[in-house]
Symmetry: C2
Subunit: 382 residues, 2 copies
């Protein structure tokens, strides 16, 4: 079924330009940039960002924008219940991104979130506010076209992961017809893999093909359960069964990091370091190549502890020195001495790092030690 | 710096075709397919997969492959330490996918994993074995080109997420020159968002721009910590503080599901249902719109419990009826009666569903109830 059969009034629909497009910029010319090494360019960009400058649209990757046609009056009524927190001013200033999937939508969400990381510098001061809307389980044409129509009304960008090729094709056509900027996140990589393997994709979202859950999946579930039970030094006798052991003072991120790693299939135990308390003997007996120390800047740690204590509603009497700078420094030094006694444990400074970043560092080191490859990597067999 | 300046021997390098390419298929013509509704097509594909048929390369999305040029002899020595479990037979049968990132690489990994979901039907019987190799933190040209060179030797597909535009450009050039199939996962979506917002991407991997971690990030960390403390009904008095409450019999996936949701920022409590035990009173007092029941097919549950008991090394004496069918059915019926007494709790059948899929269902319902949109969605403001 083609879109025009589905939507007999297609001609009136093509008149739609969302009223939010007034402020979109048109084409910009590429400005001359002095030649520099990639490293220098990165430092320059980071410096510019930290000093609050907006980056112009002159990166080598940028294609000049096609100038937007002038926006005619909106011909379809906009339903205020169709947009979250909709009001006319909001729609003009906040840019919408619609993420549409015939499966869970987590891949589209992850990709959008990753890409938005490159706009952190203007999101952080609401210089370019964005709202994202995830539509998952969109496995029929009617729902897909309704959402695309709404995207057209709101001037949203449509990002889609549609395993079903007819839905993907319909989305592409509808976006072209209704002038909705869009990007297919799943199609290109699926096609690349299909060509590489020489077999066709199923065209079905994961879970719909009836293929049973894999052993690897159940191993990840078991890793999560192991890790939760080992949280906060709960069972030191089980350290030998862990793949990875994290150790560090309170609030260095051991718990969320261990959970993140567990979801990737690693059994993780975490062992807190507390000023004056002896470490469990089992920690000194395990294979040192699985142990990773975490450290952090004392000022940052103090802030995190204060904030945590406040969230938990703890008064300054009950934990009188937990966040005091002297105690914080002393505890970090205590941890530092323990790390120095165990030089085979890598020590990772987690200051300013998101859990995902620390996890990447841990796993690079972990696999590097195991595999001793010339080119360190994390490998997996399907 | 161009690639030929970097690699003066570029002409010898272009001779490389990895010896694994012998078995790659060439172009196939599109076969005629009877017209059918998208739903019927999906059912047909699922049926074909379940009956063990391989899908031909005739999906509407498929572009005919460019015929591969004949593979000349490999001119560079292949270092056995450079590939995991390398041996000549292995390289010919197992296809490699290299995932390269100047950041963590988790986005590339997620996308490859999602796309591979469409090849589950042939991965499951090792009809098209694949090994993936993740190279993260590749933020300089030399490392990038070494990896690309290795990909060329192994006949690997290169999938990259390179925020730095000069690295992305170099990867594209190198792959073209050395005939490495490749796909840029991050570039297209970053460009689409840049055009949509009218600002340039920073060109820096997340974390490198110096923008501090957001409030949303810390909220997610706090949600994880809350959820771990509430696991398995640990603190029923805190149910009112949870955003989402999961309830179901043992082994319906409450723990891993609660962790998955917590990582998305939801405070989750889980309450086990045990045959004969009264539910905590607080559960009946909380807002029913936050409670979700989990159920499962009894045969599947029995298998999971048996397998779990075996993993834990439990003998048949210690948990004599935990996995016996009569007990399993009785406990599920007990749960069913509880759910019937609380009709406002949605009940989700998790049989055969991966955690990610159940999470998508829970969150769709959760947000639908909260927002009462005509078009249910999960929305977020940046």
């Amino acid at each position: 079924m083609t879109i025009s059969q589905f939507y007999p009034t297609i001609n009136s629909v093509t008149q739609i330009r969302a009223c939010t497009r007034d402020d979109q910029t048109g084409s910009k010319t590429v400005s001359g940039r002095p030649k520099a090494s990639p490293q220098l360019n990165r430092w320059s960009r980071a410096r510019a960002i930290r000093s609050g400058h907006k980056l112009d649209r002159s990166s080598p990757r940028t294609q000049p924008l096609e100038p937007n046609p002038p926006a005619p009056q909106l011909s379809l009524p906009v339903d205020p219940h169709d947009a979250v927190n909709f009001d006319a001013a909001d729609v003009r200033t906040v840019k919408s991104i619609y993420m549409v999937s015939d499966g869970t939508g987590w891949t589209a969400e992850h990709c959008v979130s990753a890409a938005l990381g490159q706009f952190d510098y203007c999101l952080v001061d609401r210089g370019c506010p964005v709202s994202t809307h995830l539509f998952s389980g969109i496995d029929d044409m009617e729902k897909l076209l309704e959402i695309t129509k709404q995207a057209a009304k709101e001037g949203a960008l449509l990002v889609y992961t549609l395993a079903d090729p007819s839905l993907a094709s319909a989305a592409k056509q509808a976006c072209k017809l209704w002038v909705v900027p869009s990007t297919d996140v799943l199609g290109p990589i699926t096609e690349a893999i299909a060509s590489h393997l020489g077999v066709s994709p199923s065209g079905l979202p994961r879970g719909a093909s009836g293929v049973p859950l894999s052993d690897d999946y159940f191993r990840r579930i078991e890793a999560i359960e192991f890790t939760i039970k080992q949280d906060d030094g709960a069972s030191p006798q089980n350290l030998a069964k862990a793949d990875i052991i994290l150790t560090g003072v309170s609030r260095t991120g051991k718990t969320p990091l261990s959970i993140y790693l567990a979801q990737k299939g690693y059994r993780v135990a975490n062992v807190p370091i507390v000023l004056g308390l002896e470490m469990p003997r089992t920690l000194c007996r395990v294979d040192p190549s699985k142990v990773f120390g975490l450290t952090i800047n004392p000022v940052v740690l103090q802030n995190i502890r204060k904030s945590r204590a406040k969230t938990m509603g703890l008064s300054s009497d009950s934990m009188s020195n937990y966040w005091e700078m002297d105690y914080v420094r002393e505890e970090l030094e205590f941890a530092g001495r323990l790390f120095a006694q165990n030089p085979l444990w890598p020590v990772i400074d987690v200051t300013g790092k998101a859990i995902e970043e620390t996890a990447a560092v841990v796993l690079r080191l972990y696999h590097d030690r195991k595999a001793k490859c010339i080119m360190p990597r994390i490998s997996k067999r399907y």
